[in-house]
């Protein structure tokens, strides 16, 4: 137990990333507000980034540094996706006056 608490190793980082990822998943599944869902998606991307960086640190050589570039690209993609997603939310809201994904359906139950 002491081992786990005091000798913080890469496993800890990976578990942290996994936990963040799964909280993000839970958020996507549970929440009905589109904005919260988008935020949860951002959270998932961050967790993935963290995993990437952990493994990069683990190998720790020159080649592993390209993971940082990768992570940077991921942040860029996340930004683009967030902006477009938010634009869609705004557009939908204009039409439907509602951002509840449960209500944003034309499929008959």
């Amino acid at each position: 137990m002491n081992d786990l608490l005091f000798d913080v190793g890469y496993g800890h980082f990976l578990v942290l990333a996994a936990v963040l990822f799964l909280i993000g998943v839970a958020g996507v599944l549970i929440r009905r507000n589109a904005l919260i869902i988008l935020m949860s998606v951002e959270l998932m991307l961050n967790a993935a980034n963290m995993t990437l960086l952990t493994f990069s640190r683990m190998w720790g050589d020159e080649g592993a540094l390209s993971a940082h570039t990768f992570a940077l690209i991921v942040i860029g993609v996340a930004a683009a996706e967030a902006s477009v997603g938010l634009a869609i939310v705004v557009a939908v809201f204009r039409g439907r006056r509602n951002v509840d994904v449960d209500k944003l359906t034309t499929l008959r139950h």
Partner: protein
């Protein structure tokens, strides 16, 4: 003149034309009848039957003439005329041809059928003149005649069965002729169903015979005694002659007789005949008096050689016949419907005929059949005439004798013919019934004492004789009761007062039939040694029939016993006198009680001491109720139960609705999966991922197995899921040591290893070096001491 055997017309043998003429007329009447119109259809029908009659006469007498003049052996001794139309069935080894046979027995039958039939057709033209189903009636009637002729002329059992079924069908059609009335339609249905039961027994008999003889032709069956076969009967293997096996003949005979019970209305299948009076009266006359009901008797006589083998079958026939005669006579006492009395009388007389057949006296059976055809047809037609008159007088229940009376004044011709027929049926000399009934009684007496066939109790003949005598007494009584109640006394209703005689078409038929009922008896005078002077024509019938029927008991393949033994003259005359006395006594009794109409004395008796028997008789001994309770109602309950369970529940609810329910259930489940919400799909994804983890979790523990094949040991390692692949290093320790520290730098061993038994100790250990997990797992296992399969 050519040999009648070769006669043919338009490619079909002449014998086939006898039934074919009425059948063709029937087809024309049924299809074009409406267009032909009112007397035309009737005329056509009459001409067809008359033509058949003429043709029959030509065949028979022409054949006799030919054989007499051409110095060929006498026609009937030569086996008669057999003509084959074509081959009808050929299935495997079974062959049935459409073959017709004219021998003395069938000659008698076709002459009677066509002759009586012609007069009944003529009568019907008058009777049905106002009916709107005129052409249909004549179509059916001709169809019936044709079928009956096929039955009688058949040379093998399948063709006879065609006729058998045909007459059953026509009986149904004609009984329910006025089908708008539900009761009549039900009567027709009842007749058909009860007949069907008989037909089933007939089929069983046919199957038994085919199984034994491998053929259903009458000649083949008759000659089967000459065939030596090794065949297995139901009761074990049996060698040699087929017909020496009495049990087979008994079984087949009884089954076929079961068919006869249905067709000829014997106990227990007689219940349809009284209900059959719902049909038009000429139908009752033709079908249920003269012809169809005699088909059973004909069949028994036709297969006389079969029955002569089996005294068991004979005793069954005689007993059933006797019981039927008594029961029917008893029921007839209290009936008040004119035709019903006659119907029960028919059943009773059929019982007589079957007793005759059952005692081996086939000649007497056929004789009584013939005489009965005439006087019963006359009685029925007379009844029809009476009812016709009552209808014209305004009666709504023309058959009810309680409303009749005094009709002798209004319908003299009918009365005269009716009287003659009643005398005939009561067995009064010199009318026809006297001779025929006497033959039967004499035959019954003769099978007692010395002439007892093997297997019968000695006294049985006397029992039959006594019972028949009582039945004859009853016959005379109820028939004369009927006569007196209808014709004597005073009119008991307005309708009777206004009744009038029937038209010529009807009365002429009555007259002809009454004439024959008077004189026909004289062809069957018994052999009396004291009466040498009587020309041989008077014994014609027995001589005539001799070649066709078997007059001896077949005890075994070589040994026969003559039927009836030899009776003395005095015995014969005594019996005749007794029979006559009994008949006369019955008439006197009826006259005493009913001579001037319904009697107060009888009414008093039926209130008091005779109340029980009277009720039993009036209610037909509750036969219908009995059948209804024991057979019909349970059958209906079973059918209802099956309907509820199998049809409603299993098929409708479980299968059909259940299938729909299952489909809708699955559709509901599938709909749940795809509802358009992405979150639900993602949930599926997550749950699926968790499931994958769960599944791959199961196979965690590294293990290995050892299997022993003789002197070899096969080691197989399973390092565990998820930690397989090139990173895993395995080290086998064949000495069983679990110290893996020395293994770190060694190269990996293969996961499957085969070693010899001698190389290993008691245990084997496997060190698994997991480079990623940085762990060293050790697994050990014992070496098996025995072979692993």
């Amino acid at each position: 003149m050519s040999d009648p055997q070769t006669w043919s017309f338009a490619g079909l043998p002449a014998l086939l034309w006898i039934p074919l003429l009425p059948l063709l007329a029937s087809a024309i009447n049924l299809i074009f009848g409406k267009r032909i119109g009112k007397p035309g259809a009737g005329v056509l029908a009459v001409l067809a039957v008359a033509g058949a009659c003429v043709l029959a006469g030509v065949e028979v007498f022409g054949g006799l003439f030919y054989h007499a003049t051409k110095e060929a052996p006498p026609l009937w001794q030569a086996g008669g005329i057999t003509q084959t139309a074509w081959s009808w069935l050929e299935v495997g080894g079974f062959k049935a041809e459409l073959a017709f046979r004219l021998d003395s027995l069938s000659a008698v039958m076709i002459l009677i059928i066509t002759f009586v039939g012609t007069w009944i057709h003529i009568y019907s033209m008058g009777y049905m003149a106002h009916d709107k189903g005129y052409h249909r009636y004549f179509g059916y009637l001709n169809l019936f005649t044709g079928s009956m002729l096929i039955l009688v002329l058949a040379a093998n059992l399948p063709v006879m069965f065609i006729g058998w079924e045909g007459v059953g069908l026509c009986s149904f059609l004609l009984i329910g002729f006025w089908y708008e009335n539900d009761a009549y339609a039900y009567a027709g249905r009842k007749a058909f169903v009860v007949n069907r039961i008989g037909d089933f027994m007939f089929l069983l008999g046919m199957f038994l015979l085919y199984w034994a003889v491998k053929s259903l032709d009458f000649n083949d069956i008759k000659n089967a005694a000459n065939i030596t076969v090794l065949h297995d009967s139901v009761w074990g293997p049996h060698n040699s002659h087929v017909w020496a096996d009495e049990r087979l003949a008994a079984a087949a005979g009884i089954c076929l007789f079961g068919g006869a019970c249905g067709k000829s209305a014997q106990l227990p299948l007689f219940v349809w005949l009284p209900d059959a009076m719902a049909g038009p009266t000429p139908v009752s006359a033709l079908i249920h008096a003269a012809t169809m009901v005699t088909a059973g008797v004909y069949m028994v006589c036709r297969l006389s050689f079969l029955y002569s083998i089996s005294t068991t079958a004979m005793i069954v026939i005689s007993t059933v016949g006797l019981l039927t005669a008594l029961v029917a006579a008893f029921i007839a006492f209290a009936q008040t419907d004119l035709k019903k009395v006659l119907a029960y009388s028919t059943v009773s007389q059929l019982g007589f005929m079957f007793v005759a057949a059952g005692t081996g006296n086939y000649t007497a059976a056929v004789f009584h059949l013939g005489t009965h055809a005439f006087f019963k047809a006359c009685l029925f037609l007379g009844a029809g005439s009476v009812m016709h008159g009552m209808e014209h007088g305004g009666s709504t229940t023309p058959g009810d004798i309680t409303t009749m009376g005094g009709l002798r004044k209004h319908m003299p011709i009918t009365r005269a013919t009716f009287l003659i027929s009643c005398l005939a049926i009561s067995g009064i000399f010199p009318f026809a019934g006297f001779f025929s009934k006497d033959e039967i009684l004499g035959g019954a007496w003769a099978v007692a004492g010395h002439g007892t066939p093997p297997g019968w109790p000695q006294f049985y003949g006397y029992l039959l004789w006594g019972g028949l005598l009582i039945a004859a007494l009853g016959t005379a009584f109820y028939m004369w009761r009927l006569y007196f109640l209808v014709f004597s006394g005073n009119e008991r209703s307005e309708a009777a007062k206004h009744a009038h005689e029937s038209p010529l078409s009807m009365t002429s038929a009555l007259a002809i039939l009454a004439l024959f009922a008077t004189i026909i008896g004289f062809i069957g005078v018994p052999h009396l040694e004291a009466l040498h002077g009587i020309p041989s024509a008077f014994h014609a019938l027995s001589n005539w029939l001799a070649p066709a029927v078997q007059h001896a008991w077949i005890v075994d393949a070589t040994h026969t016993l003559p039927i009836g033994g030899e009776g003395s003259d005095s015995m014969t005359i005594t019996l005749m006198v007794i029979a006559l006395a009994v008949g006369a006594f019955g008439i006197v009794l009826a006259w005493a009680l009913y001579g001037r109409g319904p009697s107060a004395r009888v009414a008093h008796w039926v209130e008091g001491p005779l109340a029980g028997p009277y009720e039993a008789s009036k209610n037909k001994l509750w036969f219908d109720e009995l059948y209804d309770a024991t057979i019909v109602r349970p059958f209906k309950m079973i059918a209802r139960g099956l309907f509820e369970i199998a049809d409603r529940f299993v098929i409708d609810t479980v299968a059909v609705n259940g299938a729909a329910f299952v489909v809708s259930l699955f559709s509901r489940l599938s709909r749940w999966v795809q509802n358009g919400q992405v979150q639900r799909y993602l949930s599926g994804l997550v749950v699926g991922a968790a499931a994958v983890f769960l599944v791959t979790d199961c196979h965690r523990h590294p293990a290995f197995s050892i299997s022993r094949q003789g002197e070899e040991l096969r080691l197989h390692a399973e390092p565990g899921a998820g930690i397989v692949g090139p990173n895993v290093k395995l080290h086998w320790h064949l000495d069983g040591s679990t110290d893996c520290s020395a293994d770190k730098d060694k190269p990996s061993d293969p996961p499957d290893l085969t070693v010899r038994r001698g190389d290993v100790g008691g245990r084997v250990a496997l060190c698994i070096d997991d480079a990623i997990g940085r762990k060293m797992n050790v697994v050990t296992a014992e070496v098996p001491t025995e072979e692993t399969p």
